[in-house]
Amino acid sequence: MLRLVADRLITTVPALVGVIVVCFLLTRVLPGDTAAYFAGPTATPQAIEQIRRELGLDRPLPEQFARYVADLARGDLGQSLTTGQPVAADLRARLPASAELTLFGLVLSLIVAIPLGITAAVRQGSMVDHACRIVATTGVSLPVFFTGLLLVTVFYFLLGWAPAPLGRLDTFASPPPELTGFYLVDSLAAGDLETFRAALAQIALPGITLAIFALAPIARITRAAMLAVLASDFIRTARAAGLSGRTVVITYAFRNAMLPVVTTLGMVFSFLLGANVLVEKVFAWPGVGSYAVEALIASDFAPVQGFVLAMAILYIALNLLIDLTYGVIDPRTASAA
């Protein structure tokens, strides 16, 4: 198992190098003078010159790249002009909010999409199957920010069931003592049911928005993978041997259909990390996405670049995790590697 992990780690190296090179290039292709951008609009020529020297922009490109990588290795992503804090610290402080929202949305969509996909495949041509197809086509067509606004209109403005779409907790409530940074987990750990309920009420709408977005690809691939597996010989044999329908579908078929589903999760994560930015803006969620958007509007580029790099590294890590779960689901892939 350790060998396997090490092998998989090595395969991520080219992707990591590629990401760092692209991020470096993105910091250098800013139109006009990069130093002037980092200095801000009100800087004097002397200040710009000083920043140019501080950033090492007067050096040849390979040397700049070496310096960039060295800074990264120390976890230095530069300073944010708007918050005055190091970008890395800002990102770390806001990451739990984004992670909680993304995972909440993903779990919600898995709970709905997988049973839906399985039922659609088992009862092909039934109402559930048609519902699955409609959900899959509608889900990919809905702009995620528009879904969010629709939910706000209906559940906050019209029905009054949801709290105002303004962040993770009501302004008068205090966050639970920090343990994981996830308010849902922390409040439960502290035994504070009231805070838990408040946090759940706040996360419900943005979470559902993300879930609707992720539902379509998961339901679609679950259905397709189940159909392929259900048509195979070993399922016919299992049925012929008199196993119950439930055992055949859940134990035999679904375990085999999980590989393509897990593969799709990689793509779903790519979508979710992007959609997160839009959902955070709609719900004023204090995560890394809204941080990047605020910085973008203020022409503060270090946070944006830090955000892009952090998301890319996170995405590579998630894909690595997905690769490793293959081995758990299907021991054949682990021994073949």
Binding site: V22, T137, P143, G274, L296
Partner: protein, 299 residues
């Protein structure tokens, strides 16, 4: 996998040539799937809005009339008016041109760059394949919308850069598709024959292989159009690219978002619906085309 045009998707009598043939084929396609027919109808409407644009709109999409600000939908303003009293219906219609233009240009660009790169990678193999593959892998290592944000932020906040960013994040999709299809055919009989009769490699690639993969590419382009519209609208929703007062669906939803909590739902709803319908339409057409071009992939 199917072999593209080698499989005739439309059995039965086919008219001889010209316009008649095209129309008959279109009727065949549409009669097979009423949903696709609906999608083509919607597409026609969108294209009409995009081409005629301001001529169709009842009001000037930029003209403000503060006396009529924030009016709910009425007979005079079927979609209502926004905070500056601009007619939302006119703005939604006028925005079709910009949104469709962004999608068309980015898809054309990615087809030209990603498609040809993938074609060359699959046909020539070797280092061409490795370089194209490495570039595609690097792009795929990013969450795509986040990469698009980074590109637009770095290159500058313009509509051209939105087109460019949307094209770049789709390159791997096209390159891989074209590569797989070209690799299957690189040593096919007709390619060997063409090579033997002295055709240059580039000529074989462009006149022999490219036409063979066009049907699958068309499907992909239709699906990518929807994605490109979503992506561009998402970027302008967070304030990239399109600037007010230019009518564009994403930015109109963003402008209306602040008014939802105070009850003016129509400002964000109608541009959002237009956006949704446009994407839905391209996805349906893509699915319909795929069922025809490649029945095995039907899900």
């Amino acid at each position: 996998m199917s072999a593209g045009p080698l499989l005739d998707p439309a059995p039965g009598p086919r008219p001889q040539s010209g316009l008649g043939a095209t129309l008959a084929h279109a009727r065949y396609v549409v009669s097979g799937n009423p949903v696709t027919a609906l999608a083509f109808g919607l597409l026609l409407l969108l294209v009409l809005c995009a081409v005629l644009g301001p001529a169709l709109a009842p009001y000037d999409p930029l003209a403000s009339d503060t006396a009529a600000a924030l009016n709910p939908p009425s007979l005079a303003h079927p979609f209502g008016t926004d905070q500056l009293g601009r007619d939302i219906l006119s703005r939604v219609v006028a925005a079709a041109r910009l949104d469709l233009a962004i999608a068309v240009f980015s898809v054309a660009l990615v087809f030209a760059v990603g498609g040809l790169a993938g074609l060359a990678a699959g046909y020539f193999g070797g280092w061409t394949d490795r370089v194209v593959g490495r570039i595609a892998d690097t792009i795929m290592a990013f969450p795509l919308f986040v990469l698009a944000m980074g590109i637009v932020a770095a290159l500058g906040n313009t509509v051209t850069n939105i087109v460019l960013a949307t094209a770049i994040i789709n390159v791997p999709l096209y390159a891989r598709l074209a590569r797989a299809e070209a690799a299957v055919r690189r040593n096919a009989g007709f390619v060997l024959a063409a090579r033997l009769t002295g055709n240059s490699e580039i000529r074989i690639l462009l006149t022999g292989i490219l036409p063979n993969i066009l049907p699958l590419m068309m499907v992909q382009m239709s699906l990518t159009m929807g994605y490109a519209i979503l992506n561009a609208a998402g970027l302008s929703f967070i304030g990239l690219g399109v600037r007010p007062p230019t009518p564009e669906w994403g930015i109109m939803v963003a402008e209306g978002a602040g008014f939802i909590v105070s009850g003016e739902w129509w400002i964000a709803l109608f541009p959002g619906l237009a956006l949704m319908i446009a994407v839905f339409c391209f996805n349906l057409i893509g699915d319909g085309l795929r069922d025809i071009v490649d029945p095995q992939r039907r899900t």
